[in-house]
């Protein structure tokens, strides 16, 4: 077929229109989340002359080869991987922060120091009833703050478990959606705008999923994705159009959580779910430490107390009740019941403070303020470490994100240039049509 100037110009105009459309689409989506910059790939339409007409010139203009999605799979994978790490670190850090507040803001340390100091003050004059009342009140404050700390820690753990439950629901929702996207990708025709939109959706979902758990992905030629949860050695979550179900179990003893896919146990190394799991484990350990300390104080005080006589000459009775931070309470509210005198002195009102010294020695053996300081140091040290890690991971993740968006995002300046370029191409093709019309008119005038 011989070349036809008018139809070549027509294809040129059409191509320029497509170019303008794509530019307009890019500009419109400059700030859409997960939108990857499109560009049009054009190719020449030309044919060889065919049989017996080898020398013929046969040019037919331009056609749209496809709409190219400028996504870099490596940078996307980096964004997902670093995003998982940040999500884990930030979930753990925020969980630990709540636990730190629970222990620190409840004022357990100050209350313990107050209690210890009130006992030291009582040593100055063991028969002074106001000093004795002060010991009882400080003991009440201490028991109260232990209870508050315990409740606050439980509340922090509840919050973490709530977030983890929501995370599991989200993972399952995203897995379902990805399975559906896979089905539609299998049906979409190549390089259609439907397919590019589906690929955008797929990548957006993958990024979202990586915020909850670390995943590894494998892409097939038609764009379908197979996902393993828990890294490359993990368990299959999505294959083709089927999605497995992520489950979560809470330990009835210490409230820590564990995950399963189907019935296979799952170990997560990244994502907010892993962070919440770590924070809950640390919280459970700290809670045990706090409970042990409370129990030790109760035991040491009550045991030493039972070895002496109180202000009325009776043998000492247990001042505290309970075995843990949550159950610690005052069993006796009368300051006269503090057994400061040794068992050998039976006269009421004795100023002999031998047993008070024994009580203080027993308490010093438990070292309540030192142990509490160690607990506080444990949680704040861990949190400070995690914050440093989080800062580093955040920088890495931000860089990866910026790198991806620099490569796949829309640059308005470039689009402005494209706009001018395609506009000029359009005008040039129009000129070609005019030339073709002029030639035709000239030919007509010959006759």
């Amino acid at each position: 077929m011989a070349s036809d100037l008018l139809s070549i110009a027509r294809s040129g105009v059409q191509a320029a229109r497509i170019g303008l459309d794509i530019t307009a689409q890019n500009i419109a989506n400059a700030s859409s989340t997960g939108y990857v910059r499109r560009s049009a790939a054009f190719s020449e339409v030309a044919s060889t002359g065919g049989a017996y007409r080898i020398g013929d010139l046969s040019l037919s203009g331009v056609r749209l080869d496809g709409i190219v999605r400028n996504a870099d799979a490596f940078r996307q994978a980096e964004v997902r991987r670093t995003g998982s790490d940040v999500a884990r670190a930030s979930a753990e850090a925020s969980g630990l922060q709540n636990i730190e507040s629970a222990i620190e803001q409840s004022g357990v340390f100050d209350a313990i120091v107050g209690f210890e100091s009130s006992l030291q003050q009582l040593a100055q004059n063991p028969t002074d009833t106001s000093l004795r009342a002060s010991v009882i009140e400080k003991a009440r404050t201490m028991a109260g703050t232990f209870q508050i700390a315990s409740q606050e820690m439980d509340a922090a753990a509840d919050g973490l478990r709530f977030l983890a439950t929501d995370g599991v629901t989200q993972v399952n929702r995203i897995a379902q959606e990805l399975a559906r996207t896979n089905t539609r990708l299998a049906r979409a025709s190549d390089a259609s705008s439907d397919k590019t939109a589906l690929l955008d959706q797929r990548d957006k979902l993958l990024e979202e999923l990586s915020g909850y758990a670390n995943i590894s992905t494998e892409f097939s030629a038609d764009g379908q994705v197979a996902i393993k949860i828990g890294g490359s050695t993990g368990t299959d979550l999505v294959i083709g159009n089927t999605a497995a179900t992520l489950g979560m179990t809470t330990s009835p003893t210490d409230g820590t959580i564990s995950f399963t896919v189907g019935s296979t146990p799952l170990t997560l190394a990244g994502g907010s779910l892993a962070g919440q799991q770590l924070a809950l484990a640390k919280g459970a350990q700290l809670k045990t430490d706090l409970d042990t300390l409370a129990g030790d104080i109760v035991d040491a005080f009550n045991t030493a107390q039972s070895g002496g006589r109180d202000l009325d000459g009776a043998m000492g009775v247990a001042i505290f009740s309970g075995t843990s931070a949550a159950t610690m309470a005052l069993a006796v509210e009368d300051g006269r019941k503090i057994a400061t005198a040794p068992a050998s002195v039976t006269t009421p009102g004795s100023r002999d403070a031998t047993n008070l010294a024994a009580i203080r020695t027993a308490l010093a053996g438990v070292n309540p303020s030192g142990t509490m300081d160690a607990i506080l140091f444990d949680v704040s040290g861990t949190l400070a470490g995690r914050n440093v890690t989080l800062g580093a991971l955040q920088t890495i993740a931000d860089t990866a994100k910026v790198a991806l968006s620099a490569q796949s995002g829309v640059d308005l300046d470039q689009e402005a240039v494209n706009l001018v370029r395609f506009q000029q191409a359009f005008q040039a093709s129009g000129k070609v049509m005019q030339v073709s019309s002029d030639i035709f008119n000239a030919l007509l005038q010959i006759g």
């Binding site: 700030s31 100055q124 140091f377 949680v379």
Partner: protein
Amino acid sequence: MSTIFGTSTSAFFERSVMDLTALRKQAEETQAEMSTGERLQRSSDDPVAASRLRQLARADVFDDIDTAATNRAVGDLTLTDSALSQFANLVIRLQELATQAGSTTVNASQRAGIGEEVAQIHGNLVALANTRDANGNALFGGESAAEAYTLDAAGNATYTGTNAPGSISLGGGQSVPRGVIGPDFLQFQSGGATVDLLALTKTLADDLKSGTGGITPAQTALAALGDGLNSITTAQTVVGSRLNWIDLNTDRRASLSEMRTTEKTEVGGADLTESIARLQNTMLVLQASQASFSRLANLSLFSVLN
């Protein structure tokens, strides 16, 4: 700040937001430091410093109690000291009376009169021995909850207190006995035997009143009274040196407390000058970043193309 060339518009905005947010956060942290005067807002800001601050705060609480204990010990020892001075005065008066009674110039009835006064002084001595301290406990009775001396029907005083005075902790592992017990200074060695001042006075009073013996008991008593006065002044010296020991400890505690305050400021306090300079610096950078951001953001090819 990371720089990536060939950037996209959204990447430019994202990066600008990141940088500006970081600067603003830094400025807010400095501001919080300045308004609270504390470098640490929570333990995890600096776990080691926070732990040190907790220990310092604990030491402060115990120091307050040690201060109260020291004041109590000073009070008790001062009371003891003034009571001992009164004891000494009474013994000197006894010496005068014994000297008079031992003289041949007084007759039996005058001696009986002196005996009455000695009996009165005996009463005063017993009352003084039963002085109470600031807490209402027997000053010379050791750890006893009741009187230091009790009188039987015949008027003989018996010590009923404990064998040692209680001690008060002054902090830093140091302690001081809170006083002296009656027998420490009321019983003394004289002429190779242990003499009790109260018993001695009682016997002297009885002997003089009854008129038996005449000069002899007064002269015997006179020798013993000299030793008694010695014993009392010795006790006063002991009390004085204990007060000195407390003063030493108070000085030590004051300097320790000063060191703690210094350390607290160093570990946990915000240096206002440094904070202000840092805030100024941060604000300057923030302003420059904002200005450059608004200029760059206005640079669009669209506004040039017409």
